[in-house]
Symmetry: C2
Subunit: 456 residues, 2 copies
């Protein structure tokens, strides 16, 4: 069987996500993000399209680098307002059976003790369908919200994250043995205290001495996602991530990043092929190529270049509004953040100008959409997968929920005809759907396995 293409919807609990200005389109319903029915309907549509999951981004703070304030972000709704993503999961889980949930949570501002319980709770309520996109945040405006002046340094955040992972692994994998819960069988106890273990950890930043509050959930550790393409971010991904979210601008760069992370994963003793790679894709599809091109032009009228500049300025840490149109942009902060923006950050050189950036903006972002008939789109996606070694795509939203419905109704059947897409879901947890039956828990080669009580 040829390699199957995996799909996540890429979304966020807010009005404007990546394709800035699309919310102004007359048919767009993104402004219904506060409406629980909007999300439940979306979940049903994604499950109808056999999507592996919905990947929910998140940000704390406001993009306030452009023109020195957050005004453009507020006017264009560039990820502000933004609501908590975790609270969407139970509502979407209530109306689906198979859809996975990859949720971005910033570990910098969550204590491991309470965060571990939150994820265990979701793993229980979703019957093993929860994933966690590990981020450490990068905005000074978020740091100020938390009482600090500035965000701590990029690489320091990853060191802190390694420590954090060690603790949550112990809570998830090492506090309750598999046979700890007796559930009152034979008039016995609910749980056997001898099979519960206090997690004691004292590191540079964290100190914990506690039992995990939740009993073992189907997956214990949520499926781990990572989205940072910086040097340090890749090293972190190679060690911890099961799924990596990439946003490279060319197939060549994508293939190189995929190969690099896989090589590092193998070097860390992991099965490199099992580190699944998802590339960002923005799709505009029609029943014919002409219909797709017309749709692109229609959408494009809403594209917000100002929104794109506000977003990109924050990602770069450079106020693009402070440059004349053709002035070279010199002060490039590299390795500045751990979001998927890294991919372009690293490539931004002094030959760039604001005009060049603005010219690249289509549908409110610098990522170029894949446009065409269902057959053209399907073939383009398959070709990217084949030529780069990725496993699938995170589909960016344009006009919602129309773009998802179009993909499900038009592209999915062609992918299926091509033998590249499942005709039904596998049973089991999200991790089993990704790796096969019997794989609900992390494999022995993953660092989390080392803290299991049974294996001590």
């Amino acid at each position: 069987m040829p390699k199957q293409l995996r799909l996540n919807a890429f979304d966020m609990n807010c009005v404007g996500h990546i394709q800035h200005g699309m919310w102004r389109h007359p048919r767009d319903q993104s402004r219904r993000y506060t409406d629980i029915d909007y999300w439940m309907d979306l979940a049903r549509t994604l499950e109808r399209g056999l999507f592996d999951g919905i990947f929910l981004a998140d940000i704390l703070g406001v993009y306030d680098v452009y023109r020195g304030d957050g005004d453009t972000s507020i006017r264009e709704s560039v990820q502000i307002p933004v609501n908590d993503p975790l609270l969407l999961v139970p509502a979407m889980a209530a109306v689906t059976k198979h859809l996975g949930f990859g949720v971005t949570c910033n570990l910098t501002y969550e204590a491991p003790y309470t965060f571990a319980r939150r994820m265990s709770t979701l793993d229980h309520l979703t019957r093993g369908r929860i994933g966690w996109n590990i981020v450490t945040g990068y905005l000074d405006s978020a740091a100020r919200g938390m009482g600090d002046q500035k965000m701590i340094g990029h690489d320091d955040r990853y060191d802190m994250a390694d420590e954090y992972m060690e603790i949550v692994y112990r809570l998830w994998e090492g506090s309750w043995q598999d046979d700890a819960v007796r559930n009152g069988r034979d008039a016995g106890p609910y749980a056997d205290p001898a099979k519960l273990h206090r997690v004691r950890y004292e590191g540079t930043r964290y100190k914990v001495d506690a039992l995990h509050l939740s009993e073992p959930s189907p997956q214990r550790t949520p499926v781990l996602y990572q989205a940072g393409a910086s040097t340090r971010g890749r090293r972190f991904a190679a060690k911890h991530a099961e799924c990596v979210f990439l946003a490279e601008q060319s197939k060549r760069a994508l293939a190189a990043t995929v190969a690099d992370i896989r090589a590092q994963a193998a070097g860390a003793g992991r099965d490199a092929a099992e580190v699944l790679m998802f590339q960002l894709a923005t799709v505009v599809v029609g029943r014919t190529e002409k219909e797709a091109r017309d749709k692109l032009e229609d959408y494009r009228r809403c594209s917000s270049v100002e929104g794109a500049l506000a977003h990109f300025s924050a990602s770069l840490g450079i106020d693009l509004g402070g440059y004349a149109l053709d002035e070279p942009i010199r002060h490039v902060k590299t390795d500045a953040n751990n979001s998927f923006m890294d991919a372009i950050t690293r490539r931004t050189e002094s030959t760039w100008t604001r005009r060049r950036i603005m010219d690249q903006v289509v549908l409110g972002s610098r990522w170029q959409p894949t446009v065409g008939s269902a057959e053209q789109v399907a073939d383009a996606l398959i070709e990217i997968m084949e030529s780069t070694g990725i496993d699938g795509f995170n589909l960016s939203r344009t006009v919602m929920p129309e773009c998802v419905e179009d993909f499900v109704d038009l592209v999915v059947p062609v992918l299926q005809e091509r033998g590249r897409y499942k005709s039904g879901y596998e049973t089991g947890t999200l991790r089993e759907k990704l790796y096969g039956a019997g794989r609900a828990r992390l494999p022995a080669c993953h660092p989390a396995a080392a803290v299991r009580v049974e294996s001590r």
Copy 2:
């Protein structure tokens, strides 16, 4: 119209809540607490019974005072394992239209910036049905989970809570003006930056400088619950709480506490009658008194005295296992915690012995159940309300969900016949259901109103 009786179901995202051992009953389904369908079914039943809300308790940490460890709590499942309560709300909201949600969240371990967003998100998703039971926690075992050695002092926690409230009020009420969101009308912005205001606060413990991340939700500030009956807790309730949860052991004590908190609220410039008082009630009802008595005996066979002692020891901060059966219990730590346990804590004197405590335990707790036919139970509840000035009850769970179904099917119709219970829900948010149409937001006399931008 005679005073209407209000009802909350009192529950927790765990196996064993207050009536210890009930989970062992053959018909009890509490062990399904990890099953999302269990909670959705419960929500539907409560809405069928026109309950005002479900009040969800929470605890961080393990009750490990009794016999010097947590083993009894683990065996009897005394609030361990315990999952996050907030994540139940979206699932229950998905299948209901009117049921309110009062959720316990410990402010000690949540940053105000991220917590405020979490509650705003829930207020949006529930269309204005969220409430917050403000607690500060009291367990050293939770403090150790968070990297501290001991819980900070009781009154210090309330001072910290006052500061915390000031910040979240500013985020909820003072960051976005009512007319800030233009939603793109007339091709304009999503929101007007001139109508957003950064919250700048620097106190003893907290420092914040940020915009609130969420746009105004139906209620802005969630309906505020408080459950501490200590001297300092009452002062806090009189200042902040809209609903107070009491667990007094006698009608005399209950009437005195109600009068005291109302007097303090009036002294703080608030409308005392609008501070709504809910008393804990445990009901066992049958179609006849005999059926109820038989049911009590049936349930009682599962009562866990050990579970009750483990729970009570933690509440007192005294290891009751360290006393001989008839030895007077002398070292009473008063004002020790801010939970509803305060009511008994303050009254525990040296004439108490372990035997006396154990003799009082019925259905796994020291609270005496109200037992009888539907008419007897209804009349007893009405009489308590009339004689003490309370507004309603938080109904403790026994055998689940049978006890809720019994109450809905048997007691609710009698309360309605007596003219003491609504025959349908009012429209609007939870706060409007409690106080009337047009009252979605906190009134001008509440301290939160002082930080509104419009009123500055």
